[in-house]
Amino acid sequence: MLILLLGIVFLHIAALVLLFVSTIVSVWTTGEMGTSDLWRNCTVDSIGHICNGASTGEWIQVVQALMILSIIFSCLSLFLFFCQLFTLQKGGRFFITGAFQILAGLFVMSGAIIYTVMSPGWVPEKDTFGYSYILAWVAFPLALISGLIYVILRKRE
């Protein structure tokens, strides 16, 4: 059963790491002109590498907030899991841990959806989505599955 514990923690940490990478590295779209991210747009001019702050639209700030919130909730969920592991009674369920993790997954999903819907507005047509965008979408089912596992888990001993 130690394997089960390790597996669950590993899944949780994997989702957390994906969230971190997706938010920080943030190569959300790439094109031949450069990369355009959550936090700044970098273009490669004839002069060199120029990075400007991201377009200060409202929706990109919403996406930023949602990604940061999902990271916070996932970290809180990990912390609460270790708390509940040692204080929960026999037969108890990890409800709060699962709830926080599911919330984190929902936040990532909304962030990715909003970015997808609004992206024609702020990136040119020929740019394609970068790997951070894909990582955000991969983190969402991982977080959701991890949260569901916590909810149906029961503590023994």
């Binding site: 059963m1 130690l2 089960l4 514990l5 004839s46 002069i47 400007n52 702050g53 991201a54 200060t56 639209g57 409202e58 700030q61 919403v62 930023q64 907030a65 949602l66 940061i68 919130l69 916070i72 609460l80 708390c83 509940q84 592991l85 040692f86 204080t87 929960l88 009674q89 037969g91 108890g92 369920r93 409800f95 709060i96 149906i152 888990l153 029961r154 503590k155 023994r156 001993e157």
Partner: protein, 258 residues
């Protein structure tokens, strides 16, 4: 003794290493402005020498997306010269005070074509080694919301809601316990003690709120077995929350239901 110290200070200043003689120029990083408005671009410098009479400021403009630069303002020898031929003709005014190391310019009646990078280069002879500093001008039709306002607001609201829910939850549990306690007391007819009970209760409530971050999960408040059960998020526990992990736990912590 004082004379020795003064001499040492003069010697040290005299043989100051080269980098401390470089001039440092400061402008903003980015400026936002509305179409048709005026904007003041500030430029100041720091130099180890006093402001000389030959101090000079030069402003150079590079439009967005272009590699060519053009000078638009120059101050030297006590006289200010501004653009009288190019796109900033009659729109640029030198408003700085060179004696106070300020070489700012005022640009009037902005247009979208004024988007670009303005570079300020200041020289304070003999202190002339320095790197020019650039400020980027962005002209908007309507000023956008500053970066980070909405982000911060959303994060703050959600975390605030979370804290509020936790506090209300603890409050409800505490109130339920208190109601049970006062019920059993009034059964014995001791109504006089309600006042001190309330004082005690409010003190305990404050303590509970202050100690909230230190709890992993709350221990069950002291209540009689017949107390009403709260929602089953926290099933009844007898053990208090202790922060020392029990290292001798066996490997089986849980099993999947069904």
């Amino acid at each position: 003794m004082l004379r020795v110290l003064a001499l040492a200070a003069v010697v040290l200043l005299g043989i100051a290493p080269e980098p401390s003689q470089a001039i440092s120029i400061y402008t903003g990083w980015e400026r936002h402005a509305l179409v048709g408005s005026d904007i003041r671009l500030s430029c100041s410098f720091f130099s180890w020498r006093f402001v000389s009479d030959d101090v000079s400021f030069t402003w150079i403009y590079r439009p967005d997306g272009s590699r060519e630069t053009v000078s638009i303002a120059h101050y030297a020898g006590g006289e200010a010269y501004t653009d009288n031929k190019g796109r900033f003709k009659d729109r640029v005014e030198f408003v700085g005070n060179p004696k106070r190391r300020d070489g700012s310019i005022l640009i009037k009646n902005l247009d979208f074509s004024d988007n670009g990078t303005f570079t300020c280069d200041a020289k304070n002879p003999p202190d002339i080694v320095g790197r020019p500093s650039s400020v980027r001008l962005l002209v908007f039709e309507n000023l956008p919301i500053q970066a980070g306002v909405i982000t911060g607001a959303i994060i703050g609201v959600v975390l605030g809601l979370l804290v509020l829910i936790v506090v209300i939850y603890y409050l409800m549990r505490f109130l339920v316990a208190r109601r049970v306690f006062s019920l059993s007391v009034s059964k014995h007819g001791k109504k006089k003690k309600e006042g001190s009970q309330q004082r005690q209760a409010s003190f305990l409530l404050l303590l509970l709120i202050l100690l909230l971050p230190l709890h992993c999960l709350p221990p069950q408040p002291p209540s009689s077995p017949s107390s009403p059960r709260l929602p089953h998020m926290h099933p009844a526990r007898n053990n208090k929350c202790n922060r020392l992990p029990r290292c001798h736990h066996q490997t089986s912590f849980f099993f999947l239901e069904r």
